[in-house]
Subunit: 284 residues, 2 copies
């Protein structure tokens, strides 16, 4: 049995992503964790085999993106083996017996409330909003409290907490994609449609130093799908770069380009090759 960790509680979008990833894999056991750090350390110490973590545009309370990247760069020796992209829709959920006109307050995670701001302003002007630690926390509170409160969150919260979906897809912008990665001790096998992630930094911190690294990708004709700079730990004014590239480490072009990047940087860490995700929609 493969043990896979996720950031609980059940019913969050991370849990949704996990259900998509492990759908056809009956050998998976889900392990609920309180923090991303604990989960990654558990994989590093072989207590669990894999962990699923949000990496972009996260909407759960405890999941902070920078933390995940920093841990992969500095603290653990894990590889990315898969990515999952979810189109996330927000929904208005209520306890049984509560109708649209009964709603006296709306509970959710602050970012979920933020994503539905225009909807709330239009349909519930001046209503009491209550921020909770997670969308699942909001669902639990609404289900238990007996108050006439609606919850904003994923439709799967309805099943888990005994709520019903009153309105579908109430977020202000059409699509809201969230990216998750699965990390383990080994990365993904070559499929022919892969991505690779690296982290690096340069000794020098002057104009053109990043430009010279990106020139390597330009020369080998490798597309970059993501770049992020972050201050390195303990030193202000020096940066670590997280870059996602098209290709697998076994592809000749990417292998040669990464060899050159390693040579031209003062810190370099390969974070894994993995199949590129299609965007999967949470159907409501």
């Amino acid at each position: 049995m493969i043990k896979i960790g996720f950031l609980g509680p059940k019913g969050t979008f991370t849990h949704e992503a996990l259900r998509g990833y492990t759908k056809s894999r009956s050998e998976y056991v889900e392990c609920d964790f309180g923090t991303i750090a604990d989960m990654l350390v558990s994989v590093n110490n072989n207590e669990i085999d894999e962990a699923i973590v949000p990496i972009e545009n996260s909407i759960e309370g405890g999941s902070i993106i920078s933390n995940t990247l920093d841990m992969l760069a500095y603290e653990v020796d894990l590889k990315i083996k898969a990515e999952i992209v979810l189109k996330v829709a927000q929904n208005l959920l209520v306890p049984e017996g509560v109708g649209l006109s009964d709603i006296e307050c709306i509970l959710s995670h602050p970012q979920a409330l933020g994503q539905c701001r225009k909807y709330i302003d239009k349909h519930f002007p001046g209503i009491m909003l209550k921020a909770t630690q997670s969308t699942a926390g909001a669902a639990l509170e609404a289900a238990r409290s007996g108050a006439k409160c609606a919850v904003i969150g994923s439709a799967s919260l309805a099943d888990v907490y005994g709520l019903k979906v009153l309105e579908h897809s109430i977020q202000d912008t059409d699509t809201n994609e969230t990216r998750f990665i699965v990390v383990s001790k080994t990365d993904g096998e070559r499929t022919g449609r892969d991505k690779s992630s690296i982290a690096f930094s340069m000794e020098e911190d002057k104009p053109g130093s990043l430009y010279r690294i990106l020139n390597i990708f330009n020369l080998w004709d490798i597309n970059m799908t993501r770049i992020e700079s972050r201050p390195t730990r303990n030193k202000l004014g020096k940066y670590i770069f997280f870059v996602d590239l098209m290709g697998h480490r076994l592809d000749e072009d990417l292998r040669d380009a990464l060899t050159m990047v390693k040579r031209k940087t003062s810190f370099y860490k390969f974070l894994g090759s993995y199949p590129m995700a299609g965007s999967r929609e949470i159907t409501q």
Copy 2:
């Protein structure tokens, strides 16, 4: 009186940063907000004058970095007028009468718990950890509950919630810098030691397109202090880049470089020039 918004409750690190920013300015009125989105819209609608928001390495529950950048790029027409960098230290706080050996549980925001993971494992192995929506929420709960719970958070929480600091600076890494920005309708005046922020995207999404833009900064010898790509809203596979540069929009070099960037991009938005922050330490 200048009205400035911050993400409450009082005692969070955002509130700390605000107190540093407005220290010598008695004309400021602080306005507590529940979400970053509400706060930015309030500035946009002239209901308040300025807002302070975390932008990197945020540790408060409701403050999601991507949300702030996306709103500045797409939804509001505001400029960055200041940045504030805080060295954040985590502390162990307890209600009066509770000593080290009495502590039965530890409350905090999940990322604050994560930042002190090694400390907790060493000094409180197996202790019950409870995640709260914010460090201030943890302090409030500890102060009210009467249970023998410690809180991890800023020292200023002790004043606000009547706790005492048992242990100083318990985070796992030495320095943990958090960056905040102040946004308003106008950006900052030229000081000679300034930064500027821009957002842009390119029509084409192929190898070398970002490289060609960065070449502009290389040619004009302009240093880049931050770069981040994010998927553009509503389209997967196209990216918006957020870049911070050294210099003020009134500096000739930067002005000419930005004119060229605007010409070479399909979307361009100038987000403001502002004095570069020194790192300010929260003394404990």
